[in-house]
């Protein structure tokens, strides 16, 4: 315990003195990177995306031998930060964390930006939504819930977990469509994030919350809510008891939120491959998987091309769902 706590003291004093940079082993003394990098986060400090970006930045710093400074560029519901990433100089010194919203905002007519405005570098995380009901809900499994939805008059059952047209709203729409139902068969109650939605679920105000499982985890652990299924291809290794929609219901529908690292277009290919290589080592490091496990975030890796494919697929799926729900402008 003694050496531990001494290290703790050092860390505390050093960190609070503001020198929150990690010790930098001079691993790579190649020409790139020759100066500190900046990682733009389109969301506020303290949130899940911010935490993910900060752990990636800390580990990337070790890989690249240069400081990676995290800069939160908030505003405009993510539009401001995402456009800051896209319009930065393509010199490899400005990168950013891109979130699933980039495939949704342009359909709503909020911005001209699409996923095609970035050089994808690496997919770092993916979380599929679960289908959560209250512990006191009459629906004990996903089959019963699906039957219940089909047999109820349109608009009777209510679901919540994000704002109107938010990612979980679209997940619900996609699932209803995959079951051959109308997108508004279950009525969407907009909420200010997943946590208030889960609270309202437990309070009995709504019936379903299709948010990601880490967001619902505290209520699941408390025995106040149940997760009936996950809208993914496979079960989540961290929550092995939750079946997929396909195996339990025979409905092949999946969607997810993801976070990846991207850079502006026209990034020189050799810099892109350096960064992708470094990100892959970050992804495979024990620190990264420990962190993701502690937060309950799902792990998924894709290199530049793989991340690009994920973005393109999501973009098409979101477009379909948003048009069906009458949320798309174009």
């Amino acid at each position: 315990m003694n050496p531990m706590s001494r290290r703790g003291i050092l860390a505390t004093t050093a960190a609070l003195a503001g020198a929150a940079t990690l010790a930098r082993p001079a691993l790579a003394q190649a020409r790139y990177p020759a100066r500190p990098l900046q990682m733009i986060v389109p969301w506020g400090a303290g949130g899940g995306t911010d935490a993910t970006a900060r752990i990636i930045a800390a580990l990337l710093e070790k890989e690249l031998g240069q400081p990676v400074n995290v800069v939160n560029r908030t505003g405009g519901s993510g539009v401001v930060g995402h456009s800051a990433i896209a319009t930065a100089a393509p010199d490899g010194y400005s990168i950013g964390i891109i979130t699933v919203e980039i495939t949704m905002m342009h359909w709503q007519g909020l911005t001209e930006l699409t996923y095609a405005n970035y050089t994808p570098l690496g997919l770092m995380n993916r979380d599929a939504p679960g289908v959560q009901v209250s512990a006191s809900s009459p629906y004990k499994d996903i089959k019963a819930l699906a039957e219940g939805i089909k047999n109820s008059p349109p608009g009777k059952l209510k679901a919540s977990g994000t704002g109107q047209g938010g990612i979980w709203h679209l997940a619900l729409v996609g699932w209803l469509q995959a079951m051959g139902l109308k997108p508004d068969h279950v009525r969407w109650v907009p909420s200010n994030g997943a946590a208030p939605g889960m609270q309202d679920l437990v309070a009995g105000g709504i019936d379903i919350v299709p948010c990601s499982i880490p967001e619902a985890r505290a209520m699941l652990d408390a025995g106040r809510a149940r997760s009936l299924a996950i809208m993914a291809q496979q079960r989540d290794p961290q929550f092995p008891d939750i079946p997929t929609l396909k195996e339990s219901l025979g409905v092949d529908y999946q969607t997810a939120v993801w976070r990846g690292i991207g850079a502006p277009l026209k990034l020189p290919p050799e810099i892109a491959s350096t960064l992708t290589g470094a990100l892959e080592r970050v992804y495979k490091s024990a620190e990264y998987s420990d962190f993701m496990k502690s937060r309950g975030f799902g792990m998924d890796w894709g290199d530049g091309a793989g991340f690009g494919k994920v973005m393109a697929e999501t973009d098409a799926a979101m477009g379909t769902a948003m048009k069906a729900a009458g949320l798309a402008k174009s």
């Binding site: 505390t12 949130g47 911005t111």
Partner: protein, 501 residues
């Protein structure tokens, strides 16, 4: 018992103690800078917590947020610039005390009752967490709607100007809250095609603008006010004990209201301070003294906002539901450090829980000596020439607004709200009511629309559910009060007309 001993040992680690002390100083400094809120103080600590042990990490969050909420009172009292939104409710009151030459009493009141509120809030967390959490879970959007309306009604009770102007200011604030796409419909509203407005208008730039920038503007427009009489800055804690005895009942009411509001997710220290200040004025024996430098309201609301800070952790620890933005950040840190929120945290990791309680109490105790030092240092601004203070405040406004999102647009917002606040003040419109409108706007609309969707457009659940019925009755009373008071006052004035004035 072994858990408790283990908890003391965990807190007694050198790294934890250093973390508490360092983050206390940090929180005091950040909270006292206009434009930097307690939330921001906490958010900026997150990267630091990566390198700390779990207990030390949580300790930094607890300590710095408690300190920042208290020290937000300091610039409010000395310069009429509230450091955090939670202080805005009683800024005028404490500034009036400073003008009366009672700065030390005002700040001492803030410090003493903040510490008491924090400790009482912690005891509530310690003794009643599960029960309080059940209460919080029973609050649905119907209840939140009435709660938000009640919060808005406080604007008319707090203001010293005409209630009509207070309501107009509040409506203006609600209008600003409409901007952006963070509304239940998710459609951009009043953004005039500007990307920067999509996210809406945050309360912080508005607060900085209407209080700090407009204060600098006033300083330029007016001649130097007659200087405060030069004298030794008196003792800070003297007189607090007699205030505690004299205003014992308001203090307890402040603590209880703070605890209840803090437990409710979505309503935090800001609202606790407003509601308590308004209640204090409503139930005071001498309401006419409010706004003129009267400590009663400071006692109640100072206790209330710090009590809410501790009880805000109840839903966060039990269900992972953030009570406010500070606990939202704290939940992230808890997960990261393997202290996953949930009932098991209270049973299986009881020693860690006790350690959290000890840290809360410790933080509120060291708040007193550190706060006294901070007040002594800060009081020097009363003696410094205005021409050297005001430029620095203006710079802090710019940098603080920028730092909230590293977005220069916030600086423009601050400038805009500076002008708005200045013009409003000149014409007798209370700016604090507008800030309240901006803070509460989204909650009012969100809870109203979602309630209607859930009830299939029936208004009955708004008054059928037991808690919401009570809240509705209170709201109606608060709404009708100015009218009743106006009629009463007219008849009274007619009766004793010659004595008026």
């Amino acid at each position: 018992m072994t858990d408790l001993l283990e908890a003391f040992r965990m807190v007694g680690q050198m790294d934890v103690l250093i973390a508490i002390l360092a983050s206390a100083i940090y929180g005091l400094v950040v909270g006292s800078l206009p434009g930097l809120s307690a939330t921001m103080a906490t958010a900026l600590l997150v990267p630091v917590t990566f390198y700390l042990s779990p207990i030390a990490a949580v300790a930094t969050i607890i300590t710095s947020s408690a300190m920042a909420i208290f020290s937000g009172d300091i610039p409010g009292c000395l310069l009429r610039i509230p450091g955090t939104p939670a202080s805005a409710a009683y800024t005028d009151e404490s500034y009036a005390m400073t003008r009366k030459g009672q700065a030390e009493l005002a700040l001492g009141t803030g410090l003493w009752f903040s510490a008491i509120g924090g400790i009482v809030g912690t005891l509530a967390l310690l003794l009643m967490a599960p029960a309080l959490a059940e209460v919080a879970l029973n609050f649905s959007t119907f209840e939140y709607f009435w709660l938000a309306l009640l919060g808005l009604m406080c604007a008319t009770l707090v203001a010293r100007s005409s209630p009509v102007k207070a309501i107009a200011s509040m409506l203006l604030g609600l209008l600003f809250a409409c901007v952006g796409m963070e509304n239940p419909a998710g459609t951009p509203r009043f953004t005039f095609g500007m990307t920067d407005l999509l996210g809406g208008i945050e309360p912080l730039p508005a607060l900085v603008g209407v209080f700090a920038v407009s204060q600098v503007m006033r300083a330029l427009a007016e001649a130097e006010p007659p200087p405060l009489p030069r004298r030794r800055f008196g003792s800070i804690l003297a007189g607090q004990w007699s205030l505690t005895k004299r205003y014992q009942w308001p203090m307890w009411r402040g603590n209880i209201v703070g605890i209840i509001i803090g437990v409710l997710p979505g309503a935090g220290a800001d609202m606790a301070a407003w509601v308590s200040y308004a209640m204090s004025k409503r139930f005071s024996k001498e309401p006419q003294k409010f706004g003129t430098g009267h400590p009663e309201g400071l006692v109640e609301s100072g206790a209330s906002n710090n009590a809410s800070l501790a009880s805000g952790w109840v839903p966060a620890l039990l269900f992972g539901i953030p009570g406010d933005t500070i606990t939202a950040i704290a939940i992230g840190v808890l997960y990261m450090k393997g202290l996953n929120p949930g009932p098991t945290l209270f049973t299986e990791r009881a020693s860690s829980m006790y350690a959290l309680y000890i840290i809360f109490i410790l933080a509120n105790i060291i708040m007193i000596p550190l706060g006294i030092i901070m007040i002594r240092v800060a009081a020097t601004v009363l003696r410094a020439p205005r021409a050297s203070i005001m430029p620095i405040i203006l710079l802090l406004c710019a940098v603080g607004a920028f730092a909230t999102g590293n977005n220069l647009f916030a600086v423009l917002l601050v400038a805009f709200f500076g002008v708005v606040g200045y013009v409003m003040e000149r014409n007798g419109y209370p700016v604090a009511a507008m800030v309240l409108g901006i803070v509460m706007g989204t909650m009012v609309e969100q809870s109203f629309v979602t309630s209607l969707i859930k009830s299939d457009n029936s208004l009955m659940p708004f008054i059928e559910r037991p808690i919401s019925a009570v809240l509705a009755a209170i709201t109606a009373g608060a709404l009708l009060w100015p009218v009743v008071a106006w009629i009463l006052r007219r008849t009274a004035a007619r009766r004793v007309a010659p004595q008026r004035g």
